[in-house]
Structure formats: structure tokens, C-alpha cells
Symmetry: C2
Subunit: 158 residues, 2 copies
Amino acid sequence: MLEIERKFLVKSDTYRKEAYDQIEIIQGFLNTDPERTVRVRRTGTKGYITVKGLTDSDGTTRFEWEREIPHQEASRLLEICEKGVIRKMRYLVKSGKHLFEVDEFYDENEGLVIAEIELQKVNETFVKPSWLGIEVTGNPKYYNSQLSINPYQSWRKK
Amino acid sequence: MLEIERKFLVKSDTYRKEAYDQIEIIQGFLNTDPERTVRVRRTGTKGYITVKGLTDSDGTTRFEWEREIPHQEASRLLEICEKGVIRKMRYLVKSGKHLFEVDEFYDENEGLVIAEIELQKVNETFVKPSWLGIEVTGNPKYYNSQLSINPYQSWRKK
């Protein structure tokens, strides 16, 4: 499956009031190499293992393979992940016919909020919510795999 | 799940006559790090994704998590694996109440044959077949993950 995603920063926290659901996510990486990222994710009741390939040159399309796994197996796999497990709250916000996933990061990435939209086509139009900030699609430092190695809190110190 | 395995070289090819089955295996790695090895395997009809953790200090027990996946998904994942995909023929040989898996490697690992037995307990006894050679349990250079980076053919040149 190919994934077409665009990523944005946010300008305000009004997405919280517009959200129809929220889930806490804990995730780690068995590999943070952008050519073959292997992610383990655990939510309140579920687990997932996800493999992603390289993003193409325009930064929007990426091979993605995902499988749901039992919550307990995800916990065990998280134990052997690389250092830098990520914890975040994901708000689900509808915008026109699309869905935004707005991730508020915690711990070493506290202060960072990223909104993502998944599209069917590269040039697909969508309704821009008032809280949507600048686009950061394709910028590797906002990849979750990179946030686990070089977290947001450490950017501000530099 | 913890895996207890012992590995041996072989002294002759008589295991071929004793084998009750054989399967060709193609496998690659999404990570060769021994702390979090991620292997993709494809056989004639099946596919698997397997995660292994560190081997403990005596070299026999290792965390292992495995999931069967469709053959076609394994093929797609093999495409993004690290360089050094391994191809081998596995012979299945019964020995007393145990099973030996004898792997004949091809391509860059041509000439290498490794026999593995899986045990329930660390000190479990088993019947030694006549063709069984010296033990190499716990020697990292015989890990399949290492054979994909530093194949057998390159050892002999050194």
C-alpha cells in the first residue's frame, strides 16, 4: 500500500474542541532507518507493527505495511525497541470529507503538535481548518522515527 | 516466547538422505542489529515476519516473536530489506524425539551448512546424528543476520 500524507504544524489548540475522539499512543522503533522503518505502536486496547519504506522525492508517497497485533505482544516488542519511545495524544478531527489526526507529543517532545491528513491522490484538495499552521510534509525532522532520536525539546536547546 | 536453540556445523551430506522434507527459504532483514533483529522470510507458499531480541549470556535463549503473513506481502517487504538477501535450502531431519533443521546456503554463502535443533530446556539431551559437526551456538558470525552482512564466501578470502 502506498501512503499519501501531508503534515502541518498547528496555530492554536481549538482542534481539541472539534475532535470527535482521542487516543493515547505509545510507540517505539525496531528500526529508525527511513529506508526501512519498523514501528511498534500500542494504544489503549490494540497493538500494531508497521513497516515503512522511503518517501519518494516529493515527500508525500511512502510504502506502508501494517498488521494489528495483540496489545500484550506490542508491550513486549516495545521493550526491545530503540531508546526514545514516543508518547502522544492523538485527536481525531473531521474536516470536510477528510480526517485530520492531530498529535500532541509528551515527554522529550513536549510542546510539539503535528496535524496529518491522508489523501487518495497527491494533488487532492481539502478543507483547511482555522487552526492549521505551516506545512512540514517531507521534512525528516518531523518524522516520528526522527523525533525518537532527536526529540523536539533538544531542538530548542540548539 | 523464548527460543532455546543449538547450532552445529556438519561433517557430511548424509542428512539429505535422512530428511523427510525440504523447503527453499529466501530471507532478508529490516534490521540486522542483534538487539532487535527484524527478519522477513518467504518459503514456497508462505511468508513470515520475525523479531528477535538479544541472546542471553550463555548464547542459547533469545526472545522471539513471529507472525505468518501472505507470501505476496513477504515479497514486497523483501524489496526494502537491507542488502544481502539470503537463499538457502532447509532439510528437515528427525533425530530421536527432536527435529534438526539443516540449512544449505547458496549465493554469497555457498559452501556453508548449519544444523539447528530447538530445545525445551537449556540442558536437554538429544540424539547426535552421525553427520553432526562442531557446535557453533552463540557465535555471532553464524547468525543469519550476520551472514547477510558478512557472507561465508568473504570469510575464506580473508
